[in-house]
């Protein structure tokens, strides 16, 4: 048994909580945590405006520092997100400053980092405007999705 939680554990926990509240604030029907170590932190559901529900996978990565334009993500994790049968949202959470960044891993693999094992994912900070864009994409009502989110 551990005597205390390490700061890294607390930071990871804070990142998950910030992400969960963010997804709830977007209006998710549910935000569910898979019970095993599936490599996905949350499965979220959003009403798609046609009476149906759109599901997405969300992976959360924690940091304690402001993030630049790119985030180095393990290639294995990237592929897991990019090659899922549901849209995948990557949330990078600066748990010290309560800031969130995001990316939509897609099948077009981004540039490999020099260490070969990770990829450089372009991420964007989340503000109110971006928040609405993310909500629309999760609900399948944005320009990236077929009408009603039938993908």
């Amino acid at each position: 048994m551990n005597n205390t939680r390490s700061q890294a554990e607390i930071v990871g926990r804070r990142a998950e909580l910030l992400a969960e509240l963010f997804l709830q604030d977007l209006g998710a029907t549910f935000v569910s945590r898979p019970t095993d170590d599936s490599g996905i932190d949350f499965i979220v559901a959003f009403p798609n405006g046609q009476g149906g529900t759109n599901l997405s996978a969300v992976e959360v990565k924690a940091t304690e520092h402001p993030v630049g334009e790119f985030y180095a993500l393990d290639k294995k994790w990237y592929r897991r997100l990019a090659h899922s049968n549901v849209p995948s949202l990557l949330l990078v959470v600066d748990a010290k400053h309560n800031r969130l960044y995001h990316a939509w891993p897609s099948e077009a693999e981004p540039k490999l980092n020099s260490d070969i094992r990770s990829v450089r994912v372009r991420i964007a900070p989340i503000d109110e405007e971006v928040k609405e864009q993310i909500r629309e994409r999760l609900a399948g009502t944005d320009k990236h999705s077929p009408v009603g989110g039938s993908r």
């Binding site: 969960e20 509240l21 309560n98």
Partner: protein, 160 residues
């Protein structure tokens, strides 16, 4: 959504908001507190909270949390505790506090239940007791002072 289900959602969000608030460390080198939720079946208190900053010791306190979705507080946050809640918190030989969580704004307010506090329901927490970074530090120092004046361990036991 049925009333019970809505209350559960506020409660779970409230739990998350409490944990984020108490581990907030934007203005500190590291979180001042670590905490665990004791679960719905544990009576009176909802959280056991440890201070993470005192070398070789782990001072602690207990929290009872009340979440609300009421209108944004201006002078104080309205909460619903009972006389029995306060009486039960006064029976615990350690620092105890009631938290009020305003769920829509994610603001958290605190009020102490200590010796001398009347055994009656606490229904409001002044907005001045919001758990800002400054008040987190004050809370931390208050708990440190409490435990510093007390013996850390018993000095005798039959079961030695």
């Amino acid at each position: 959504m049925k009333k019970r289900a809505l209350k559960d959602v506020i409660g779970k969000r409230g739990e998350n908001i409490v944990e984020l608030c108490l581990t907030e460390y934007a203005t500190f080198p590291a979180p001042l507190f670590d905490l665990t939720h004791l679960g719905d079946k544990w009576p009176v208190v909802d959280y056991y909270v440890e201070l993470t900053t005192v070398p070789g010791k782990r001072p602690f306190f207990f929290l009872q949390a009340k979440a609300t979705a009421a209108t944004n507080p201006k002078k104080s946050l309205a909460i619903s505790t009972s006389r029995d809640d306060v009486a039960a918190l006064l029976e615990i030989p350690a620092p105890t506090y009631i938290l009020g969580i305003h769920e829509p704004s994610k603001r958290v307010f605190i009020r102490s239940v200590h010796e001398g506090v009347g055994i009656k329901a606490i229904t409001r927490i002044p907005v001045g007791y919001e758990l800002t970074a400054n008040n987190l530090k004050i809370l931390h120092d208050e708990v440190v002072r409490f435990w510093r004046r007390r013996r850390h361990k018993p000095t005798y036991s039959v079961f030695l």
